[in-house]
Structures are given as structure tokens and as C-alpha cells.
Point group: C2
Chain length 216, copies 2
DNA sequence: AATAATTTTTAGATTTGTCTAAATTTAAAA
DNA sequence: TTTTAAATTTAGACAAATCTAAAAATTATT
């Protein structure tokens, strides 16, 4: 059994693994809001528990055991986010912090019953896929809205930024999950994108466009 | 803000206060599965935080602030127990341990929405009253089944023992919340009680009878 | 009232997760 | 290839929560 803190490390390492492998000490320190020295201490411990492969100065990789543990935490996090939005009327920018706490509740029965209660959702409120009990999940195909050319479009299937200000901004613009959009213009001056949603046109910054995921 | 551990102490002190006031160090140690020395350390800390009034060698009492904090934890615990039984089909003997973890989730919005989602339940699966947001709750009147005389009866409104073996035993006997019973005989030999439920008669030990609460 | 038994507290150690400051290693620049 | 800069690790300290063993205070018994 892992502590609250150990679980957080595993989850962070799992997420960072998608960006670079092995994962570096400083990258973890930044994400977890702690100092590199503390990360080193923890990596040694996780290594001794057989949850990560750690080479001094080189970085860490999750072992099979570590990866399964991490995915299970992600599963719980996302299921709770679905619960909060679907059953308790939380907005998609309000769920993350609470889910950060709920994901550490240790009851397999609870997770399975929750999954059932929610009718086995496949994605969370931000479009991220929910792993099944065995850690498997379909990797959805998508492109960043910022990569689309004029007249290209599709449905919003996810976001790659989960901060409350960003999500609230999208909501105000009517850019929620499932909405269909078409790029109508790309402004030379600042790279901002004009697009059509719900019959009318809006303009979003390039920075915003980079974090919206589209499936065609 | 209190730590997980501090919250557990406050809750235990709150429950023990109903039995004796002030609460003694050893009583806390026994309940919380720790040593008296650790309790002393924690009592000093809670005292400094203004959550308890603590007099060396005499025991502790909750301050108004400490009591409110404790009641809020109890509120969360019982709401989660209702959620688990009503929405996730947990049995009444399966909810306690999970609720012990869930009660520490810190989100006022979550608690209020959960309360609403459950349609503002007044009691938990064991018949214990659920405090409202301000810490108020009706104190239900009841008598122990073991105090009833022959031909006296009423409805089962609660239990004063929450262990899984006890609750499973009651369930097997058909003695669940709301069931109406009448005492038909009290056996001289061992003090065991014969009673009528659902048209048929059963015999329960005095020990069991002591933990069943009846309202007339 | 003196003695014994019980309860509680103190003292000092341990574990976990963290920190700062200094040392070491690796990567980049001159 | 030195030198410099950046990243990482070590060393030593700290706070929180716990423990054991011993001392002190309270309560019960003679
Ligand atoms: Mn999240
Ligand atoms: Mn999410
Ligand atoms: Mn309970
Ligand atoms: Mn209960």
C-alpha cells in the first residue's frame, strides 16, 4: 500500500512520461510543488518498493507495477470528476481539486460501484479517457485546434489545459465538449483563430487554440 | 485547517463526550488505536489551536470551535454512508470504513451538493441523526430493546454498535431499520429476549438486545 | 495515613516528508 | 579541451505523528 504522497508522485511521473522518458527530477519537482532534493528522496523510496526504475542523474521510468498503480489513480480521479459533474452539478472547472482528494480513497468496491452507477463512462468532463479496471483505455485520436487550416473543422473532444480560468473562458465562449467548429480565418498578425460555432463567429488567441483538441 | 489525524481526534473526543465529560486520555488512546503518550502530545496541540480545553491529568472538553469542527466531520461521515447505501448499493455493514476516509474530504460545496443529491436525509443507515450545515440535529428518543418488558414493542430506529459482524447478524435475523417488533418473552436463565418480527418469533441474546434501539 | 495500583505525563528515539546549503555530476559554451 | 552553467544528489536539519521506558500524579486499598 502506498501513502497519499507516494501515489501523487506515481501519478505525476505517469503523466510526465507521455512527454519525455525517462522523467527528470526537476520536472517532477516543478509539477509537485516541491524541491528537487525531496524528489530525489522519494525516487529512491519508490525504487526500493519496485514501483519505478531509477538511475541516478538519468531520471525515472515506471515499472509495470508502478504504471498499474498510477493508472488506477487516474481512473479514480476521472470517475470522480464524472460523478461531480453528472450527479452533483459541478462545472468542469470545479471538479479537479476535489478529485485530487477523492482519487486517494482506497476501496475497490467503491470504484467498481461508482463506475456502474455512472454507467461506465468512457471519458471524463475534460474529454480524457477513463481506464477500465485492468488499466486499458482507447487512445482517442485528435488534433490541436491550432493545427487546423482554414475551412477545416470537427468536434471538440478534449482540452489539454485544466486550469479553472482557462475552462471558464472556454465556457463563456460556448466552446464546450461536443461542440462542432470550423476554422474560418487565421489572423496573420498574432496567429489568432477565427472560427464558427453555433452559427456565429468568434476569435480565440493562438494560446487558447493550442489547448483545444478536435476530432474530425 | 486541521490534519487528517487532528480531525480524527476531534471526532473521537466528540463521541466520547456523550459518555463522560471531560474525556480521559486513555479512553481516547483505546478508541483511536494509539498510545496514551501520543494522545497527550495531540491534546496539547489541539489545546494550543483552541479546539479543546485541556487540563493536565484531568482530561479534555471540546471548545465551541472544536465541537463545530467535530460535528461537521460527523455530518460528512453520515452523508457519505447514506450515499453508499442508497446510491451504490452498499450494505449497512460495508459503509463505515469507506466513510472514515471520505469524511476528511475538504469541500463545502461537495457536502452541500451531496446533501441535496440525497434529498437532505435526516438519519444515516444505522439510524444516527445527520446534523445540518449549522451543526443542529434532532435528538431522537429511543430505548434499548433490552429495557422493554413483555408485550412492549416498537420500531427499530437505530443500533448502538456498528461492527460488521453485529450488523450482518441483525440482517440475517431480519432485524433491520424500521422493522416493528414486540417482546414476547424474557428468558430467566440467560436474560435473552424472545420477540415477534414479521409474524414469526425469534430469540436474541441480551448482548444483542442492548444494542438495538427502539422507538415506541 | 501510608501503601499499592492505575492513569497520565515526560523524555528521548523513530519514521515520513520536507527543507537549505554544499558537493557532485552532466551538459553547454568558450 | 578547459571553463562555465545547469541539473542532480548528498548532508544535515526540521516538523509532525508516533513509539518505549521511566517519572510523576491521581485514585483505590489496606
Ligand atoms: Mn482533473
Ligand atoms: Mn479531468
Ligand atoms: Mn460509521
Ligand atoms: Mn453510521
Amino acid at each position: 500500500m502506498q501513502s497519499f504522497t507516494e501515489e501523487n508522485y506515481l501519478k505525476i511521473i505517469y503523466h510526465l512520461s507521455e512527454l519525455s522518458n525517462p522523467v527528470q527530477t526537476n520536472a517532477i519537482a516543478e509539477r509537485i510543488q516541491t524541491k528537487a532534493a525531496s524528489v530525489t528522496d522519494m525516487l529512491k523510496k519508490l525504487s526500493e518498493k519496485g514501483l519505478v526504475d531509477y538511475v541516478k542523474y538519468q531520471g525515472v521510468t515506471l515499472t509495470a507495477k508502478g504504471k498499474l498503480t498510477a493508472i488506477n489513480i487516474v481512473r479514480k480521479h476521472r470517475l470522480w470528476e464524472v460523478f461531480l459533474t453528472q450527479k452533483l452539478n459541478f462545472k468542469w472547472d470545479e471538479v479537479h481539486d476535489v478529485a485530487e482528494e477523492l482519487e486517494h480513497i482506497t476501496s475497490d468496491l467503491l470504484v467498481e460501484r461508482l463506475d456502474e452507477f455512472l454507467e461506465f463512462p468512457k471519458v471524463d468532463p475534460h474529454g480524457d479517457p477513463i481506464p477500465d479496471r485492468d488499466g486499458n483505455f482507447a487512445s482517442l485520436s485528435f488534433v490541436k485546434l491550432s493545427k487546423l487550416k482554414i475551412n477545416e473543422g470537427g468536434a471538440i473532444t478534449g482540452v489539454s489545459e485544466h486550469s479553472s480560468p482557462f475552462l471558464k473562458h472556454l465556457e463563456k465562449l460556448g466552446l464546450t465538449l461536443g461542440k462542432k467548429i470550423v476554422v474560418t480565418e487565421i489572423i496573420d498578425f498574432d496567429g489568432s483563430v477565427e472560427l464558427k460555432v453555433d452559427q456565429h463567429k468568434i476569435n480565440i488567441s493562438r494560446e487558447v487554440a493550442k489547448h483545444i483538441l478536435i476530432s474530425k
